[in-house]
């Protein structure tokens, strides 16, 4: 984690972390070094949009559209979730200097 998470920050899964479907148990898993996380369906929707391309703003907009929900509430939830993953070393983000 290099700095605060801004609307223009682009989050990505840390190297060595990946999201995949878990056929044996159902649902999705987030795999990292000695870590297996079983994200709930909402977390999975967020994680599917963390592609190293989309900004936080774009992720929130996408979720608000797809789930017709309040963007302010979504942003709060997404921030909390992503910051928590960053503290565990599973995610980081960068800022586009042109923005």
């Amino acid at each position: 984690m290099t700095s605060d998470l801004h609307a223009g920050s682009t989050p990505r899964l840390a190297p060595g972390v990946r999201l995949r479907e878990d056929a044996a148990r159902g649902g999705w898993v987030l795999l990292g070094p000695e870590r297996v996380l079983q994200p709930d369906p909402i977390a999975v929707e967020i994680l599917k949009r963390v592609d190293g391309q989309r900004t936080l703003e774009a992720i929130v907009e996408g979720l608000a559209q797809d789930f017709t929900a309040d963007p302010a509430q979504i942003e709060k939830d997404v921030r909390l979730f992503l910051t928590g993953l960053a503290e565990k070393g599973l995610l980081d983000w960068h800022h586009d200097p042109s923005r």
Partner: protein, 372 residues
């Protein structure tokens, strides 16, 4: 064919593949058995690949490619490619002393997800002495540089004991310097070689407390920069460790010759019947082999454990430790303060921590085959 899913038994998450027992290092706390398996008994490439496919079908998500030194296997690239191809997260557990940058590049291209590098000491003198290999520390540092250059995520693993317990802060600094995102501060677990060397390895209780304090402090300070996982030394603990998170609950271990074990040291328990991947499918072994069912769940527990509110937290602790100390694999782990043998365990640890012993280095019994 047996049914894939048995009623109460969850599918395993992880598999430790001990590809070989050959290793250029001779660490006196090695978790391999004292009676090491030779190259001629190792599974071939095809069999390992079949095991990996079966593991993926069974639900295994992560695989730890270990040893011995896994890079001593010339077919490691092929094994990584296969495991990765069937969707398994691959973690290479290496000493990092004989792996070139070129080879690592091929492994990365084959789909390797993560590298775990052992560090025996935080400086050259300590590393070289504990590993029994001159120049090991420098080679490890160079290897870590290659890992970083390739953008592979790196974990350092430091096994902690009397000779390096004062270096915890240095290990953490080294991890940051080498670009690791994670470090395991793993106090030696006294089985196999470590049990043999217990009197030469055991730290004093105050040293352990101080080590835990340093870890806690660094963990708070480095949150978000470095993940610090610690394996606590349970001789001085109040509760036992939940060994393997429960016997036959989450993971399995395949030895170089294909024996499938619920944990590293399970073969020390007399009377257990282990099955081999050359005779049985992995799913059959997981759900039906006598060894895996011997201590699964809570039914096997002595009354002291079965009636304890922590029975599904500690899972009765460690069966191998119960055997080693209590002489009975189904006894309460003496690391638990409720065990009648707890004080005896503590006395033994304290006596060992004051002993002056030298290491019995990890070696093949005569005649030693020299292979790399």
């Amino acid at each position: 064919m047996t049914p894939l899913v048995s009623s109460n038994t969850p599918a395993p998450l992880g598999l430790l593949a001990e590809l070989t027992h050959r290793c250029p290092l001779q660490c006196p706390y090695c978790s391999n058995p004292v009676d090491l398996i030779r190259r001629s008994q190792e599974l071939d490439t095809q069999t390992w690949c079949r095991v990996f496919s079966e593991a993926a079908d069974l639900g295994v998500l992560q695989m730890h490619l270990s040893g011995g030194e896994p890079t001593a296997r010339k077919d490691l690239e092929e094994l990584v490619r296969h495991a990765s191809g069937v969707g398994i997260y691959t973690n290479l557990i290496t000493a990092g002393v004989n792996v070139s940058g070129e080879r690592l590049e091929v492994l990365a291209a084959a789909g390797l997800d993560h590298v775990q590098l052992s560090m025996q000491g935080a400086d050259p003198v300590t590393t070289d002495k504990i590993s029994g290999m001159a120049g090991a520390h420098l080679r490890k540092r160079n290897f870590a540089g290659e890992v970083h250059r390739l953008g592979l995520p790196l974990t350092l693993n430091a096994v902690i004991h009397r000779a390096n317990i004062h270096q915890i802060a240095d290990f953490i600094d080294l991890a940051l310097e080498l670009g690791a995102k994670r470090i395991e501060i793993a106090h030696a677990q006294y089985y196999a070689w470590a049990l043999k060397n217990r009197a030469a390895l055991m730290p004093r209780r105050e040293q352990v407390l101080e080590a835990q304090r340093v870890v806690e402090e660094a963990r708070a300070q480095l949150k978000g920069r470095l993940v610090i996982d610690s394996v606590v030394p349970d001789y001085y603990a109040r509760y036992p460790k939940p060994c393997m998170n429960g016997w036959g609950r989450q993971s399995l271990n395949v030895t170089p010759s294909g024996q499938v074990l619920p944990c590293h040291a399970a073969e020390t328990i007399p009377g257990l019947e282990f099955w081999n991947v050359q005779d049985h499918g992995l799913s059959d072994i997981w759900y039906h082999s006598p060894a895996f069912n011997a201590f699964r769940g809570t039914d096997w527990m002595p009354e002291l454990c079965r009636s304890c509110e922590r029975r599904e937290i500690d899972w009765g602790g460690c069966r191998c430790q119960a055997l080693a100390i209590a002489g009975d694999a189904s006894a309460t782990d003496p690391a638990c303060h409720k065990s009648p043998l707890h004080q005896q365990l503590l006395d033994m640890a304290e006596a060992d921590s004051e002993a002056e012993e030298s290491y019995v280095y990890r070696r093949y019994r005569n005649p030693a085959p020299v292979e790399s």
